[in-house]
Structure formats: C-alpha cells, structure tokens
Symmetry: C2
Subunit: 78 residues, 2 copies
C-alpha cells in the first residue's frame, strides 16, 4: 500500500499562536535557551492498492481541504 | 543554531478523532481510495547557541509538557 504524508506549516511571517504560547510558557518555566518554536501538522494517508494516481489525489485533498493557502504551505512526502 | 524537532503521534490503538472525521468526510466527498488516515503534530525548536544539552532539554519538554504518555508517543529528530 502506498503511504503518503502531507506536512502543513504556517507560511513565513504568519503568526503561529500555539507555538508563541508554548514558547512564552516554556520561558516562564525556566527553559530559557529556545530561540524560536514552530509547529506543523502531518496527515499520513494509507492509500488502497489500485488507486490510480494516489499522489494527485493527496495533492488535490491538501490544496482544497487540508491547507489554507492564505496562511499555510504543504509538503507532500512519499 | 541546533534545530530539533519532536513529532507527537497517537499510540497504536488510540482513537484519533480528527483523522477519523477527515477520513469519513473525504469518503463522503468522493475520495474513496483511502484505507486509513493518521495525524501527528511536530514542534520544531530553534535552540540558542551555547545551550549546554539541547537534546536533553527537548526530551524533558516533550516528556513533561508536549506529549501525553497515556495516549501519545514522541520522536525526537535532529
């Protein structure tokens, strides 16, 4: 079975509120050596054998449904 | 600067509600060739130069704060 992953990140310059909050709170907890922190989300698809073009399907799903192109980018890994 | 990532996944057998919902809705939208779907979250730390043991710090943060060991596992990537 083909396994395809899609990693979704915020575009450079877009604020990542979860990462900012974690970074701030880690500082308060004494973890001072962190310069910056980023988050990303990965969706791993296990595709059925016989699916004609799994890469194209995952690309379409990522573009249309998973990533918001205004603030996010996606990377497909096979 | 050392960059260290931590990927947090659900343990095998633990329900992943976001992935199940996306999988169900993709089927309804006509994407029928997906056998299963999993999600994971990645935190990427940009560590300041001079931090004595960045790997140990990130391991401690992952264990104590980012991952819930009852339902999640973490993988550190450098």
């Amino acid at each position: 079975m083909p396994v395809i992953s899609v990693e979704i990140k915020f575009l450079p310059g877009v604020e990542d509120p979860e990462a900012l909050t974690i970074h701030k709170n880690l500082k308060l907890l004494g973890y001072s050596g962190i310069k910056s922190l980023k988050t990303s989300k990965t969706y791993t698809f296990d595709i059925e054998v016989g699916q004609s073009d799994p890469h194209a399907m995952v690309k379409e799903i990522s573009e249309k449904l998973l990533a918001n192109p205004v603030i996010q980018s996606y990377t497909i890994k096979e």
